[in-house]
């Protein structure tokens, strides 16, 4: 079959089951866009290439499918870098197709040329420059395979214009095999056996679950494992939703803004079972004092995550779902041991209960609207059934603390890179994947301005995302650090009186705009906005100086929490 490069690309997308491409056109990808047009392939036109990548990312995180982007050369490519780095840090499967100048011009500083393969080398799982149209089918297959297998991640494919115009007789290979890439899925049985022995000996165990559980669709296995053993469980920011936080065994998030009970429990534990988590510095605090009395079992598909920051006793390289399945199977024959360990752990659970009661997550109601209250009400009004995206800062941490996540793939947040401007486009991508879901971006007044242009995308495609701005007139999280560590010198963090009128802004884009200034308006306005099923901004004027607590100062040990 003789096809042009552009036709091969479209054929490849169909073969990979791609439903939608998020993109932005330009000179280098005109041919590809022409093909998209002729084929009537579903394409969402964003307003900035960063938005395309975050939207594909939100699509991917919420659906488990690979997100796909298409951008032009030069600035089109460089605009994707923050999005790609965001996805890389959080292991999100993406394939980004970028246009490139024709191969004879590469290296000549041609118009709109950027060495995007070089630029993205350290923030992609892998990347390709396609030099010959004949390689295209293989590379497309490899790109999708690499993006979604093993520890997922973004893959970039750079497409020179002449290669897209060129035609060749091509066939798509049936199977993909990459010589130097063989992810390990099955955990080592000897290590699993050893892990089980430690589990049965534990007195003060804790399960520490991360985003890997969600990526491997292992929530059910994790839930069974936790409940059968009756062990307490804490989750990372990326792990929220892996186990219902409403369950008594769940201690909520750990780390810098984790709960008192989670941080105390991990610090006093004698066994940490880390599942799909990577001992990030925001989680561990001072690494030397992290879980000092504990033996550590670490299950992760990425061998480089194991013993990177902390020496573990039992490494298990493998897919969380498969390893947990084997553990559950092994446990089946040992009901008596399970009962014994449950009995032994009972006093530990009582201790944890005391910690939980001593300092539960809380805030004081005052005249000014409390941001935590808004998040709680969002949770109540949606019955915890919404997909929540966040921006970065206090808004993100309050969302993590006060929305009760019970299902995987319902929390979209930039955990690793901490990218302000992630939430709105991610929400748009999630809404594309789940047209009937209630999708909410819990935003800050600072962050929302970083990709506000995507309002136009939401309106154009009638994607009814709700942006709830917790408007504290500050770059609040930075202000909080300045309050605590810089004697309240609020250097360039105050946005009072210089923010746009978000209601008018929403209206200017053709969306709905609401402002909430009084406590009693919070619930009725949210209700009205959610019911309207139209893109909307709900600008909630909240207490300016509210802080996120508990807080472990950077570099301190987890027990050194500031509580108010």
């Amino acid at each position: 079959m003789k096809l042009t490069g552009a036709q091969i690309l479209l054929e490849g997308l169909k073969r990979e089951g791609v439903e939608v491409v998020f993109g932005y056109p330009g000179g280098a990808v005109l041919n590809v866009y022409d093909e998209i047009f002729k084929e009537n392939f579903k394409h969402i036109l964003v307003r900035h290439e960063q938005g395309a990548v975050h939207a594909a990312d939100g699509y991917a995180r919420s659906s488990g499918k690979v997100g796909v982007c298409l951008v032009t050369s030069g600035p089109g490519g460089t605009n994707t870098v923050t999005g790609i780095a965001t996805a890389y840090m959080d292991s999100v499967p993406l394939v980004v197709f970028s246009g490139q100048v024709p191969t004879p011009l590469i290296g000549n500083d041609a118009f709109q040329e950027a060495d995007i393969v070089g630029i993205t080398r350290s923030c992609t799982k892998h990347n390709y420059l396609v030099k010959d149209v004949k390689e295209l089918p293989r590379i497309i297959g490899e790109a999708f395979y690499i993006a979604k297998s093993g520890r997922p991640g973004p893959v970039l494919v750079d497409l020179p214009k002449d290669v897209m115009l060129d035609s060749g007789n091509v066939s798509f290979p049936e199977n993909v095999s990459v010589r130097g890439y063989h992810p390990t899925y099955e955990g080592h049985s000897y290590q699993i056996e050893r892990a089980l022995q430690l589990i049965y000996k534990a007195k003060r165990p804790i399960i520490y679950a991360g985003g890997g559980v969600i990526l491997s669709n292992a929530s059910k296995e994790l839930t069974d494992f936790t409940k059968i053993l009756n062990f307490p469980i804490t989750m990372t920011l990326m792990g929220l939703g892996a186990f219902p936080v409403t369950e008594p065994l769940a201690l909520g998030m750990l780390g810098m803004h984790g709960t008192f009970s989670a941080n105390m429990a991990i610090s006093e534990s004698d066994l940490v079972i880390a599942i799909g988590a990577r001992f990030d510095d925001r989680v561990t605090g001072k690494i030397e004092e992290f879980a000092p009395h504990a033996r550590i079992i670490h299950i992760d598909i990425d061998p480089t995550s194991i013993s990177k920051n902390i020496k573990v006793d039992i490494p298990i390289v493998g897919d969380c779902k498969r390893v947990l399945t084997v553990l559950l199977k092994e446990m089946e024959g040992h009901e008596d041991e399970t009962e014994r360990v449950k009995g032994r752990v009972a006093p530990w659970l009582e201790q944890i209960e005391k910690w939980r009661n001593k300092h539960a997550l809380a805030y004081e109601l005052e005249d000014a609207i409390k941001p935590q209250y808004v998040v709680e009400k969002i949770g109540e009004l949606t019955g915890g059934n919404a997909i929540i995206a966040t921006e970065v800062g206090q808004n993100q941490m309050w969302a993590a603390q006060f929305y009760k996540f019970t299902k995987p793939r319902t929390f979209l947040t930039s955990g690793g890179l901490g990218t302000m401007g992630y939430g709105l486009p991610a929400a748009i991508g999630a809404q594309v994947a789940h047209p009937d879901a209630t999708v909410i971006d819990i935003a800050g007044d600072g962050s929302i301005q970083m990709n506000i242009q995507e309002m136009a995308t939401a309106v154009q495609y009638n994607l009814p995302v709700n942006i709830v701005i917790l408007n504290n007139s500050y770059l609040g999280m930075v202000r909080q650090w300045q309050e605590l560590f810089f004697d309240r010198r609020y250097a360039y963090t105050c946005m009072e009186n210089i923010a746009p009128d978000f209601v008018k802004l929403a209206e200017a884009y053709g969306a709905l705009g609401f402002r909430v200034e009084k406590m009693k308006e919070v619930v009725p306005t949210l209700k009205k906005a959610f019911k309207a099923k139209r893109p909307a901004i709900i600008d909630v004027v909240v207490e300016k100086f509210e802080g996120v607590y508990p807080m472990v100062p950077a570099g301190a040990s987890l027990k050194q929490m500031l509580l108010v």
Binding site: V117, G118, R121, S122, K125, H126, L129, I146, V178, R179, G180, Y181, D302, P303, T304, S307, K308, K311
Partner: protein, 159 residues
């Protein structure tokens, strides 16, 4: 501790830069790096000399393995291996010390590869010990320039 890694990679453009940027991005150090095609032209072999404690070496090995184009990583330092480096040294040669230089070259089984009125250029191949011994002997005579290939290494056959 110093480690010599043998890294089998796909012979593709960009692979060297992936390996090099991995080392720089993660703050691992490279003492030397040699790379050339293997018998199978689709593969290249890199010999990398690096330093690190056990935990760092574990990370380096794992991170290299994680690169899609890397096929196999062997830490030779854990095994018996031979290593060689080729060095070119240009030494100041006067009437009086020319003979001494030639004697040293002879002892180390080096080769004179270029001669001028004022200099002698010498080629020498050997392991670390031999090369540094020769350099130490030549140094007092006045080394003008030195170029080293970096180390290549190979596992010894099991006997």
């Amino acid at each position: 501790m110093r480690h010599t890694l043998s890294v089998l990679v796909e012979n593709e453009f960009g692979v060297l830069s992936r390996v090099a940027s991995l080392f720089s991005a993660r703050g691992f150090n490279i003492e030397s790096l040699c790379v050339a095609e293997t018998l199978d032209p689709s593969l290249s072999l890199m010999t990398i000399v690096t330093r690190g404690d056990e935990m760092i070496m574990e990370q380096i090995t794992k991170q290299l393995n994680k690169l899609i184009n890397v096929i196999k990583v062997t830490d030779l330092s854990e095994k018996k291996f031979v290593d060689r480096e080729l060095v070119l040294v240009k030494v100041k040669a006067t009437k009086t010390n020319r003979a001494e230089i030639l004697r040293i070259v002879d002892i180390f089984r080096g080769k004179v590869v270029d001669v001028s009125l004022k200099t002698l250029s010498i080629e020498i191949t050997g392991d670390d010990g031999k090369i540094s011994a020769m350099i130490e002997l030549l140094r007092p005579l006045g080394i003008r320039e030195i170029v080293r290939t970096g180390k290549i290494a190979m596992l010894r056959a099991v006997k």
